[in-house]
Amino acid sequence: MITRPRRTKTTLIFGAAAIWGLVLIGCVAVSRTMLAPSKIAGATFIGSKECVQCHEDQTAHFESASHARLALADPKVGDPGCEAWHGPGSIHAAGGGSRGTIINPRKSPETCFQCHLDKRAQFSLPNSHGVMNGNMGCADCHEVHKGNAIVDTGADLEAMNATCTRCHTQQKGPFVYKHGAMREGCVACHNPHGTINAKMLVARDANLCLRCHLEAGDPGSSGQINANAIHHTSENHNSRLMQGACWSAGCHEQPHGSNASFHFRN
């Protein structure tokens, strides 16, 4: 007869210690702290009321900001306030706002990556905006102090695509012949954080266009994409689809919109 070993006090102590060690290792290994406020050596939390005295522009409408809905893990911070992202502000306030005593996420995206870890991965893909090398910052495109962090959600006043066309003026138009996809937003075809495809496209070939322009195949055919499969046209695109992307040479070279052709040719 085999008897189980007794669960002694020593076993429980060391078992608990082992679990605690695994938890700590797990937290460090993923290199992120879920909704925990940033830290500054030697500084303590003083609350957002101190920040308002000098930074009223940034704090006045924060209650309407997307990030105002976050719940924080550290009870010392209380409500999600400035110090959740900028770190404890005691040294900064005592020094009259001296530089280098507070975390500025505009200088580094690491504060944002604490939660948005997937974006760090996307910015590391071959085709991405220059956030990782400091040419751009998250706040260049996202409003973090008021309203929606992503423009044109809900019922914002800002125009669709306004975030992108501030820099990409050539794609803004207006064009004589506008591609309807522009009304779906730039993100219908591009992932602005980064993709493996050129120009941050979400698909590298004709499949990008077929996401909207594919209709049901002709049941009488062999199942190949046929004349009826391409929305808005009666032309047979069988061989053309095999040649390359829809926007390649000799075809629809102006996918954002054209001033010369209703078919978005150049």
């Binding site: 008897t3 070993p5 020593t10 060391f14 210690a17 082992a18 605690w20 060690g21 695994l22 938890v23 700590l24 290792i25 937290c27 460090v28 940033s38 500054i40 409408h61 309407s64 105002a68 719940a71 409500d79 770190g87 001296s98 530089r99 280098g100 005593t101 040419n135 959600t153 809900g154 019922a155 006043l157 125009a159 003026t169 050539q170 803004k172 138009g173 207006p174 064009f175 004589v176 506008k178 309807g180 009304r183 050129a198 120009k199 496209l201 062999s222 069988n238 061989s239 095999m242 040649q243 390359g244 992307a245 390649s248 040479a249 070279e253 102006q254 001033n259 010369a260 209703f262 150049n266």
Partner: protein, 471 residues
């Protein structure tokens, strides 16, 4: 035996527990390490840096991926000087100068507490591109781009002035001038028949032509914006009025090669007597009509020029009224007329076989693109923010937009047929959106957002095209 097993497992658990505890304590200690750089403790400082890369693969790919120059660079990474000019006035200067990535920054800010500030500066950096085209694995074809230095320099100069006197309207003026110039890769890839595919693969009419020849885009763009705003609080209402003048002047050209190195043999073309009805016989058409299908391509070089000037004027107004601690009412409206002038052309040069050799022939091109677009855009929204409790926030919002667009364009086509095209496209669009969103920032309640979002997008468009043929 049982005791031995017990002792063994107990010893193992003891060792594992001790190891994990030590590792955990070390990890916990590592987490407490200071997260900030020691250098920013200085009010004024300078950082000098240098970098170099040892590249074993493609240099252009490295530059594109790493967003750094393959030849390295050095210079001042960060210069920061702060000077207290008086008890209430502070001057701050920031600078950066890195050769290689052409990364430069110069900025000066002068702030007087209770009066306002002036901020001006210049910023420039470079982005790199590798110029790789499509890849065709069947024939292991990967054609490199012509020897072009592919990078875009982006620069920005700005001047901003702000006057914020106590209990007075706050004025702000900002002017920016942004430039983009250089060459970058394009995904408008050219064609090639050198794929190794047979012309016809029964039963499908598969062409051997594939588009994977790299091309590049010459960019020359300017964007200027002048923005003036006034902000004032009357009672519980914060009012803001903004005037915007925005100008763009873009002149881009895309260079594409189709069927590089391919040409129809003159001996075949010279045997042809076919003349397509209504067209003047060209060596290219004659050759196409008589040559074997596998030789139906001649090299074509294309320079697609696309020019556009845009003038946008905007008027934006917002009013935020704090009704009480829980309710805030927000209004917003804008009016934005846009005026665009266009230009450009698409010259094609074909390598045509003749009795005396292969000659370049301009064919099937257009030039003198003219016309433009006029837009009038009206938009408005109203929103009610309701903070029911410390952990519950609801936003109700409505938005409406009307956009009227009128565009027209025309161009000349001067190939062997000499025809002329003039098209006019008119459209009027009405875009309406309604949305209700709720946000719950609490820890216990589920986080909800955009409970409801509805948008109507109506497009009333008409197109009127005219295509005339001249002799």
């Amino acid at each position: 035996m049982k005791a031995n097993l017990h002792n063994l497992t107990r010893t193992t658990r003891f060792s594992a527990g001790t190891l994990l505890l030590c590792t955990g304590l070390l990890a916990h200690g590592a987490e407490k390490a200071p997260a900030t750089d020691a250098l920013p403790l200085f009010e004024s400082y300078i950082k000098v840096t240098g970098q170099a890369a040892a590249i074993s693969g493609d240099k252009a790919v490295f530059e594109s991926r790493a967003k750094q120059p393959g030849n390295g660079g050095a210079g001042i990474e960060d210069l920061h000087i702060v000077k207290e000019l008086s008890k209430t006035t502070t001057g701050t200067m920031d600078a950066r100068a890195l050769t290689g990535p052409d990364d430069y920054l110069g900025r000066y800010n002068l702030t007087k507490v209770g009066v306002g500030s002036v901020d001006f500066g210049f910023k420039r950096f470079r982005t790199f591109y590798d110029g790789v085209g499509g890849f065709f694995p069947t024939n292991n074809q990967w054609l490199p781009l012509n020897d072009q230095s592919l990078h875009i320099d982006r620069s920005k100069a700005w001047l901003e002035a702000k006057v914020a006197l106590k209990d007075m309207p706050e004025f702000e003026v900002r002017y920016t001038n942004e430039l983009r110039s250089g060459q970058k890769d394009s995904t408008i890839w050219g064609d090639s028949s050198q794929t190794g595919l047979a012309f016809n693969l029964a039963p499908n009419p598969v062409s051997p032509v594939r588009k994977f020849i790299p091309s590049y885009l010459q960019v020359n763009e300017r964007h200027e914006a002048l923005e003036a705003s006034v902000k004032h609080t009357v009672g519980k209402t914060a009012l803001k009025l903004t005037l915007l003048g925005d100008r763009t002047n873009n002149n881009d050209t895309r260079y594409v090669i189709r069927f590089p190195g391919e040409v129809i043999p003159w001996s075949i073309a010279s045997l042809s007597t076919t003349t397509p009805a209504g067209q003047i016989a060209s060596p290219q058409n004659i050759a196409k009509a008589s040559a074997p299908a596998t030789s139906w391509n001649n090299q074509v070089t294309i320079a697609e020029n696309d020019a556009m000037r845009t003038a946008t004027n905007g008027l934006f107004a917002t009013a935020d009224t704090i009704i009480n601690d829980k309710l805030t009412l927000r209004f917003g409206a804008n009016y934005e007329p846009v005026h665009t002038d266009i230009g450009g052309g698409r010259p094609l040069v074909t390598s045509a076989p003749t009795a005396t050799g292969v000659l370049p022939v301009a064919t099937d091109n257009y030039a003198g693109l003219y016309g433009g677009t006029r837009v009038k855009d009206y938009a408005g929204n109203v929103a009610l923010d309701f903070k029911a409790s410390k952990t519950f926030f609801v936003k109700l919002a409505l938005r409406a937009q009307s956009e009227f667009i009128r565009g027209s364009s025309g161009y000349n086509v001067s190939d062997t047929r000499n025809w002329f095209h003039d098209g006019v496209y008119l459209s009027a669009r009405r875009d309406e959106g309604h949305g209700i969103s709720a946000r719950v920032p609490g820890r216990r309640l589920p986080q909800l957002e955009e409970l409801y979002h509805w948008r109507i997008d109506r497009l009333d468009a008409q197109q009127d095209g005219l295509c005339a043929t001249e002799g």
